[in-house]
C-alpha cells in the first residue's frame, strides 16, 4: 500500500471483534442499546452534578466589589504636609502569604487642608500603569501612553478618558484610612466619570 487512497477514507484493516456479536437479533440489540443509553444518561447526570461545584470553584474570584474592600490605614496624618502630594504605601487587605511583594500597594495622598484629603490610585485611568507625581510641575505623568493629570487628579492630556481614580478616605484617631482592596479599574471606580474640559471640570454619571 504505497499510495494513500485519496480521497476515499482508508478502510479499517483489523477486524473489529465487536461486530461479530449477533447483529441480527433485535431483542439483544435493544437491550444492549438500552443499557448503553442508560450508561450515557448516568454519565451525563454525574457530569451535571460535578459541573455545578466545578463552575462554582472556577468562578470563586467573581465577587461583589464590596466584599474585597475594607478600610486600611496609610499612617499618621503628620506624614502628609498640607498642600503637598505624597506617596503612601499599604498592604492590600485581602492577601495570602505567597503573594510576595505584589500586595504592596502605593497611592498618592494629597492633603488639601488640615482636614481635607484626596487619595489617588497609582493606576492610570487609561490602562492601569503606575503614574508618577512631579511636585515641581504639579503633574502626574504616566510612562505607558503618556497620560498626564493635574495636581487635583483631573485629566490634563493624553489618552485617559477621565481623571485619576480616587479612594474614599476617613480620619480615625489621627490616622488616615482609605477604603481599598482591589485594583482600581473603570469597572469598579468609574461610576462617577470626571470629564475634564478646558474651562473646568464637569461631573456626569457614567
Amino acid at each position: 500500500m504505497s499510495n494513500v487512497t485519496y480521497p476515499a477514507n482508508p478502510q479499517p484493516t483489523t477486524p473489529d471483534v465487536n461486530t461479530a456479536i449477533a447483529p441480527g437479533d433485535p431483542r439483544t440489540v435493544s437491550r444492549r442499546w438500552l443499557l448503553f443509553k442508560a450508561g450515557i444518561a448516568l454519565n451525563g447526570l454525574v457530569g451535571v452534578v460535578l459541573a455545578v461545584p466545578i463552575v462554582r470553584y472556577l468562578f470563586a474570584p467573581w465577587r461583589k466589589d464590596a466584599s474585597y474592600d475594607s478600610w486600611v490605614s496609610l499612617g499618621a496624618l503628620d506624614a502628609f504636609p498640607v498642600g503637598e502630594t505624597r506617596l503612601a504605601y499599604y498592604k492590600n487587605p485581602s492577601r495570602n502569604s505567597w503573594d510576595g511583594e505584589t500586595d504592596n500597594v502605593a497611592c498618592y495622598v494629597r492633603r488639601e487642608s488640615t482636614s481635607r484629603f484626596k487619595v489617588f490610585a497609582i493606576n492610570c485611568a487609561h490602562l492601569g500603569c503606575p503614574v508618577r507625581w512631579f511636585p515641581q510641575s504639579q503633574l502626574f505623568m504616566c510612562p505607558c501612553h503618556g497620560g498626564v493629570y493635574y495636581a487635583d487628579g483631573s485629566r490634563a492630556s493624553g489618552p485617559p478618558e477621565r481623571g485619576l481614580f480616587t479612594y474614599d478616605w476617613k480620619i480615625v484617631s489621627g490616622d488616615l484610612q482609605i477604603d481599598a482592596g482591589q485594583m482600581p479599574t473603570l469597572s469598579n471606580t468609574a461610576r462617577l466619570v470626571t470629564i475634564s474640559t478646558r474651562s473646568g471640570d464637569s461631573k456626569c454619571s457614567g
Binding site: Y6, D65, D99, A106, L127, H145, Q182, L186
Partner: protein, 509 residues
Amino acid sequence: MQRMKQTTLNVYAWFERRLQLEGPVKDAALHQVPRQTASWWYVFGSAAFTLLFLQIFTGILLAMVYVPSAGEAWRSLNVLNHQIPLGWFLRGLHGWGSNFMVAIVLIHMAQVFLFGAYKFPRELTWIVGVFLLLMTLGMAFTGQVLRFDQDAYWGLGIGASIMSRVPWIGGGLVHLLLGGPIIAGATLSRFFALHVFVIPGTLLLFVFVHVWMVLKLGVNDWPMPGRVVRRETYMEEYHHLAHTDGIPFVPGAFWKDLIFSGAILAAVAVCAVVFGPFGPSGQPDPSIIQTVPKPDFFFLWIYTILSYLPPQMETPFLLIVPLLAIAILLALPLIAAEGEKSWYRRPVAVLLVSTLAVSWGVLTRLGTTTPWSPHMSAWSGDPLPVNRIHDATPLARQGAVVFQVKQCRNCHSVGGSGGERGPALDTVATRLTIDQLRFKVVTGGGNMPAYGKNLSPSEIEALVRFLETLHPANEPPAYDASRRAVEATQAAESAGEASRLAPHPGSTP
C-alpha cells in the same frame, strides 16, 4: 554481524506486531503530493511544529526549577539565570523559541492565505489554524506573565484594565482574570495553569487535528492562475494532479522541511547564545513606581494602537475589533471556499497582506521607540547641549534650569535627548515668537498641559528667554514685526535719554 541484524529485525517485528504502526506511517510518509508543492514556501508549517516541540521540551526543563509562586517566581528566574549552569541558555532558548514560533506561525498563515490554501476542502484546516494562532499568542502572553517581573505585572494591569471596559460584567471578568481583587499570588498560579496545562493541552489536540487534515486532504496544490477551485470537481482534479505529476512526500518534499526546521532550531540557539534570555526586569513590586512597563515584541503593535486611539473610541475598539477580526478570519474559508487560488488573480488579498505587514511593522517600530511616552527621568538625567549653556545669558541659563526642573524635558527633546511626546525644541525659536512661546507655555494646548498655574512670572520669563535661544546659529529667531517697531522707537527714545545722561556712565542699571 548477520546475527545482530537478524536480532534487530526480530525485535522490530516483535514491536510492529503489537503496535501495528508501519502501515499508517508508510501511508503518511509515502503519499503522493503534487510535485510543485515540494517548495521552500511550504516549510513554515512543519517549522512551527518543530518549534512547538522545542517549546514543550525547554518548558518542561524550566519547570523543574521555576517556582510558580508570586513570592518566589522572580527569585527563581534569577537563580535560573545565574546559579543553575546554563539555566540562562535554557531560558534564552524558550524565550527566543517563543518569538520564532509566533513569527513562523504568522508567516505560515500569510503564505497559506496568499496561496489560497484555505479554500475547499481545507476550510476546517484554516479554522483550526486560526485557533492555533490564537493559542500561540496566548502562550506568548501567558509566558510573559510567568516571567514575573515589572513588565509582567503591569502587562497584567493593562489586561485587567481592558477587561474592565466590558459593560456590566467587566468587574467580574477582572476578578476572574486576576483570580482575586488585585494582581497577586492567585494571578500567577492561574496563569501558570494556563501556560503549562490548559493552552498547551488544547494546542496539541488542535495541532493533531490540523496535521491529520493536512495528511488526509493532501498538501495544497501550487496555485495556478486560471485553475479555479470548484466543490464539484476539485477533489478529482487534485487526485489527478497528485498522481500524474506527483512525488512521494518523503523524501521528495520532506527534505526541505527537515533542513528548514534544523536551520530554525539553530537560529534559535544562536539567538539564545548571542542575545541571551529575556529579563527578568525589576521585582514585581507595585510599590516600585520608577518603572517603564513595556510588552514583549509581538504585543508592541497593540501597545502602539492603544496610545494613538482617540479616548472616546478606545473602549469600542478594544472590545469589538478583536472579536470582529477573529470572526472574519474564521468566516473567510466559508465565504471564499471557491474560486481563484493564485495571487496573480487576487490583488485584494495581496494588498491586504502587504498593508497589514507594513502597518504591523510601523506600529511595532513605534512601539519600540514609544514617542508618546514622557521620559520619566529626562528632567533630572538628560544634560543639555553644552553650547546652549555656554552661550546663554544668565537669565536664559536660569530658564534652562526651569526647563529641566519643571519637567518640560520629559516630553520635549533638545539635542536629541529627552521625551518625544511633544515636538523637539532645537529650533523652536524659529517657529514661535517670544510672545507665542509665552502663550503656549501658559495655556498649553493640544496635548500639552497648561503650565500657567505652576510657574511664576519670573520662571515663565526665564523659560521663554531660554527657548528663544533655541535656534540654529545661521537662522535668526522668529520675531513679531510690530514688536520690533515698538522696540526700535523705545530704543531711539532711551538713546536720546542716554545721551542726555552721558556724563554719568554706569549709573543705576
